[in-house]
Symmetry: C2
Subunit: 207 residues, 2 copies
C-alpha cells in the first residue's frame, strides 16, 4: 500500500473495533464482515474498511475478516500486542473503582503499582496490590511500567504528572478535571465525566 497520512480519527476508532472483535471471538465467531461489525457500533461499513485500509489489507473479498487474525493485527497496530503495565496514583474512591474494573484486561493492561500520600492508606491492600508511599514513586523504575493513571485531587495532579514523567512514563490517563502540562513526547488523555454529561443537554430540546 502507498503511504498515506493516517487520520487520528481512524486510530481513535480502532480500540472500539477491537472490543467488538474480542467479543465476537468470545462467541467463537470465526469470520466477520465489515457490515456485521458496523451494525455492532452503529457506524457505516465503508468507514471501517477505510480505517483498516490505512494499515493494510486484512480481509478476504467475499468472506470478510478472520476475527482472530484481525484482532491480532489491530493489537499490533495499537501496540497492544505486548501487555502494558500501569501505575495508579491516588488510592481513593475512584482509584478503587479503577483497580476493580475488569475491562482493562482484554486490552492487555495490568495495574501493577499503586501509590498514595495518605499514611492511613499506605500499606493497605486493594485488589491484592499494596499501596505504597508516593514519595517512593521511583520504585517503579525497576518495573517496566509505561502508563500512569492519575486519580488524585486536582491540586495535586500536575505535581504527580511531573513525577510520573520523571520516572519515564510515556502515557497518562488523567481523571483530575484540569489540564496537565507534560513534554510533547508524553501523551495525555484527560477524562471528566461531568464534562461529558454537560454535552448531553444541548441535544435535548428544552422543555
Amino acid at each position: 500500500m502507498r503511504y498515506r497520512k493516517i487520520p487520528d480519527e481512524a486510530v481513535w476508532r480502532l480500540p472500539m473495533y477491537l472490543r467488538g472483535l474480542l467479543l465476537s471471538l468470545e462467541k467463537s465467531q470465526e469470520t466477520i464482515s465489515s457490515q456485521e461489525l458496523a451494525d455492532f457500533f452503529g457506524v457505516h461499513p465503508w468507514q471501517i474498511r477505510k480505517d483498516f485500509s490505512y494499515f493494510g489489507a486484512f480481509g478476504t473479498p467475499g468472506v470478510g475478516y478472520k476475527v482472530k487474525k484481525l484482532s491480532t493485527q489491530i493489537k499490533k497496530i495499537l501496540n497492544l500486542h505486548v501487555s502494558h503495565k500501569a501505575v495508579l496514583v491516588g488510592a481513593g474512591n475512584l482509584g478503587a473503582v479503577i483497580l476493580a474494573y475488569p475491562g482493562f484486561k482484554i486490552y492487555g493492561f495490568e495495574i501493577t503499582a499503586v501509590f498514595d500520600n495518605n499514611p492511613q492508606k499506605i500499606g493497605q491492600k486493594i485488589e491484592n496490590i499494596s499501596i505504597k508511599d508516593v514519595s517512593k514513586l521511583s520504585l517503579i523504575k525497576r518495573q517496566k511500567i509505561d502508563l500512569g493513571i492519575i486519580a488524585v485531587p486536582r491540586k495535586a495532579a500536575q505535581e504527580v504528572a511531573d513525577r510520573l514523567v520523571e520516572m519515564g512514563i510515556k502515557g497518562i490517563l488523567n481523571f483530575s478535571p484540569c489540564r496537565i502540562n507534560v513534554p510533547k513526547k508524553v501523551k495525555v488523555i484527560t477524562i471528566d465525566i461531568a464534562m461529558d454529561l454537560a454535552r448531553l443537554p444541548y441535544y435535548i430540546p428544552s422543555s
Copy 2:
C-alpha cells in the same frame, strides 16, 4: 449573523471552555481574552473565537470577553442555564464514586434519585440519597429528571436503558462497556476508560 451549520466539534468543545471560564470566575477574573483561554487548554485562540462565532458575538474588541457574561451565554447555548436532574441506576462501586464526585455541580447537575436491584442495597443511603428498587423506576416520572446514568453490569445495561427511555429520559451517560440501542431522539454517550487507555500505546514508541 447568517445561519451556518454548527460543527458538532464546536459544541463538543464548549463544555471545556465553560470549565475554564468558571475557574476564572472563581478567581474573580473579570475579563479574559481568547488568547488567555486558549493557553489554558493548549488550543489556538482563533479556534475559540470561531467556535463562539457560530453562536453569536460575545466579546469586545480590544478587551476580550466578560467572564461572567460569557459563561452565562455558553450555559444558555448548552442548555445548562437551568439545572438538570439526573437519575443513577446501579449503586455499586462506580455508582458511589459518581455520587460523590463534586464536579457535576459546576455544570448545574444534580443526581436526585438512585436505583439498584440488589435487595441488600435497597433502602441504604449513599451521599444522603436513599437507594430505591429499580422495579419502581417509574417513581422518577413525578420528578423532572431528564438525564440518566447507567452504572450496572453490561448484561443489564440495555434493559435499564429501555426502562429509562420509557420513563422519558432524554440523555444517557452509559458506563457499561457496550453499545445500547435507543430511539434517535435520545442521546447516548458511552464511556469506557479501558478503551480510552487503549488509545495511548499507539503513540508510545515501542521499546
